[in-house]
């Protein structure tokens, strides 16, 4: 066994070509660090992406990589996993790639619970095509293609994933690299489709879109760091919490740090209701949850596929070509 791999070992020899200051750099670095810490092997790791700034990611990872076509990375990854279930597969996508042109592939990959990890870089803008509004842009977004403001309601990546039956749903922000590494490590450990949304700053076309969540001073007041089994507390001095009022979450100022009656996070509950209402908590009314919203266990698609193959072999024996050729009604011509 050779020496353990370091962050550097996961860097490819290609020059990184994102704009200086782009949030993608932080995600790349967090991924390389997380994989090194996890001790994964490079040869068993595959990054698959679609099209967009985020989708250049595989070129910068010294693993196997496939920069595919717009929106279809989950489908390519599905084929990779069905052909070789032993590989560690990561899908890199963005809000345009994954939620616009590729929404169909995303939803169907998630519902099948294939064992790969999807990282969706959400910068709420189209970057590579130079600044049109995206499916996660706020209504009224003024861009080159919407000079009078966009008309569409934004999609929420987490509710899309939850509605698709995702077995693992998490969120992190590019500015908190250490937390991002933890989330990536949790996703890597999950067996099944892991969906991770990353708030990512496009400093050229949509700078500060997530400033409330990334600025160090504001962050504690605007983010709810989820911890399994712990009461939901946030704020600079851990002075506020989330309580349930009927079917609605409400923000409550804590009385001398008293956490009684606060909602406790349970990522493992199979019913998605809790995760769904966490996902729907939006700034500025609520702090936005980061960390693992949901992590439940379910059989993966490729394991069940291989079980069917195995069962067929056990029942009928390993297929024999001559038996196959001679099956059905045959006759002999003399």
């Amino acid at each position: 066994m050779s020496a353990p791999l370091t962050l550097k070992d996961f860097k490819s020899d290609q020059e990184v070509r994102w704009c200086p200051g782009c949030g993608d750099y932080a995600i790349l670095s967090a991924m390389q660090k997380a994989l090194a810490d996890l001790g994964v092997s490079r040869e068993n790791t595959v990054f698959v992406s679609g099209i967009g700034c985020s989708s250049r990611f595989p070129y910068y990872m010294n693993t196997y990589g496939f920069h595919s076509i717009h929106g279809r990375a989950p489908a390519v990854a599905t084929g990779v996993k069905c052909a070789n279930p032993e590989l560690d597969v990561w899908v890199i996508t963005g809000d345009g790639d994954g939620l616009s042109i590729g929404l169909g592939q995303l939803v169907h990959a998630i519902r099948r619970n294939l064992d790969f990890k999807i990282i969706l870089f959400n910068n709420r803008i189209y970057g590579l095509t130079k600044g049109q509004y995206s499916p996660t842009s706020e209504t009224g977004k003024v861009t080159k293609s919407t000079p009078d403001g966009s008309l569409d309601q934004p999609l929420n990546p987490l509710t899309v994933a939850l509605a698709s039956g995702a077995t693992f749903v998490a969120r992190c922000v590019d500015a908190d690299v250490k937390h991002m590494q933890e989330v990536i490590a949790r996703a890597a450990a999950h067996r099944g489709t892991a969906f991770v949304e990353v708030y990512q700053d496009c400093n050229v076309y949509n700078h500060h879109a997530f400033e409330y969540a990334t600025d160090k001073k504001q962050r504690p007041d605007h983010l709810l760091y989820l911890e399994h089994g712990k009461p939901m507390v946030f704020g600079a001095g851990s002075d506020r919490g989330i309580r349930l009022d009927g079917l609605r979450p409400v923000v409550e100022k804590l009385d001398n740090g008293n956490q009684d009656g606060l909602l406790k996070h349970d990522e493992s509950v199979h019913d998605p209701t809790l995760a769904m209402f966490l996902a729907r908590m939006k700034h500025p009314e609520f702090p936005e949850p980061v960390g693992v919203l949901r992590a439940v266990s379910a059989p993966t698609y490729e394991r069940r596929l291989m079980a069917q193959v195995q069962a067929a072999v056990e029942k009928r024996g390993n297929g024999d070509l001559d038996d196959l050729f001679n099956s059905g009604d045959v006759w002999d011509a003399k």
Partner: protein
Amino acid sequence: MKNPDTLEEAPAIDDSRIRLVDRVAIRFAGDSGDGMQLAGTQFTNTSAIFGNDVSTLPDFPAEIRAPAGTLAGVSGFQIQISSDDIFTPGDRIDALIAMNPAALKANLADLAGGGILIVNSDEFTPANLKRAGYAENPLESDLLADYRVHQIPITTHTVEAVKEAGLGSKESARCRNFYALGLVFWLYDRPLETTQNWIRRKFGKREDIARANELALHAGYNFGETAEMFALRYRVEPAKLPPGRYRNLTGNQALAIGLVAATRLAKKTLFYGSYPITPASDILHVLAGYKHFDVRTFQAEDEIAAVCSTIGAAYAGAIGVTASSGPGIALKQEAIGLAVMTELPIIVIDVQRGGPSTGLPTKTEQADLWQAIVGRNGECPVAVIAPMSPADCFEAAIEAVRIATRFMLPVMILSDGYIANSAEPWRVVKAADLAPIEIRHATNGGDFKPYQRDDHGSRPWAIPGTPGLEHRVGGLEKAAITGNVSYDPDNHQRMINQRADKIDRIAHEVPPQAVFGDTTGDLLIVTWGGTYGAARTATQRLQAQGASVSHAHLRWMNPFPANLGEVLGSFKHVLVCELNMGQLQTLIRGRYALDAEGLHKVKGRPFMVSEIVDAAERVLKAPSKSTGTHKSNGGVA
């Protein structure tokens, strides 16, 4: 001949009533729910096992159950059986079984004069006649005067015959296709065993239904024997097929079996990613039953995911196959370009149907040739092979996998609705007689170059999981040798040339173009795909008349065989017959600069032999062109 033991013995046959014929063409026609495809298939299998050569043409509506009794809902199954080689289901039919007025109306024009017409008279009610658009009952008019008409109350007879099975009246009446089949079995002196065994296998768990269908089958047979309605019976003797074991295969079945065989020959796993579409879905159905061959089928959410999953599987080292028909292939084209750019071996099957758009989903056409060869953005060549018959699909599948893995590129298999659903005898091969498909995966670490080409011009197939070969591929232009992203102008030209060069090299890997008949002469009939049978039969007929006519049937459509220009240039006239408006004709004209003429048809049906004979005779009668021009241009590429 005796009937099976469970039923009473049929009277002995008076052989003097049986006339020997070389071939007959029969069509079963009825409502979509009448079970005509089943009756046709049973007649086919019985005849094949009896030893005849067979060729079939199923013809059914796109609607699962169009309104009962209407022309839109008519479903037909034509079969020709012969005592020698045949290549088509026949132009005209010798016998028509019409289960209702609409079936009669839709099919009568194809029945030869003096032909046998069996109608289910029970269904000729005023309401059904109206639904079929008959102002008066054709059975009571002189419309059918040219035919030998046999009016039989098939439904009534069936219900009566199956009484003892104890089914309800509706279920009893549903056995009428077996009654009709039994009658036709008698008329053409076929044994009942094959169908009887099939009924027992199929309905084994429903003893009452199995019994009823058997009773109906025998009742139809016995009616023919005892009714003295038919002056003659007909017998087609077994064909002199080359010795060996045979089974009937449709094109879709043959593709599925061929893919499994190819994968085994390559010692690989077959991944089949597909989205249901007529007429390609059966390939998915068949392969889904072969999991014990480690076949991994994936029903994708759409056509794009189907092909993309196939590319992912190929990247990971499987034999990746996807299939569709024209509309679905259009959706897949961007991803096929990705496979061209990443130089991964995938198989794309296009079972063509009538287009454009949704077109004629259940009818055949050959109008996707251009889509296959040039229908992508950029200079984006793929190899294209077109099987010529249902059984040839087996061989085409193996060739496609061999070429795709040797040259690291997508191979498209252009089948069509006719080939897909028609059946013909396939001579069973021995697995040991099939040549292995050598796959060489990259294993060298260290200085690995993902786009370093070998002596086939192919890049290495380096699969994830192999230490030391970590590399990145994608749709952006690749630098030669390293495979890194490159926008360099000279590199782009070089890579375009290298991808095209691989296609050119294939031309020397595939057999040279063969010619049926003399290699020079007045006329060369050129065809591809499912038109083989009609063109070969037409050529035989013309040659028998003494005409200077030969036939060249293309299987590799891209690249063309290396000697094709020479072959074409050796004839005064070239006539390209295809079920489109001249797609191959245009390619040949462009490639070889010769004045190829065309016979075009887009009616959702295969060529009739007579159509090709007539077109050839027209060309032969035309003023002769200068042969010198053809010859001098023949080799120009």
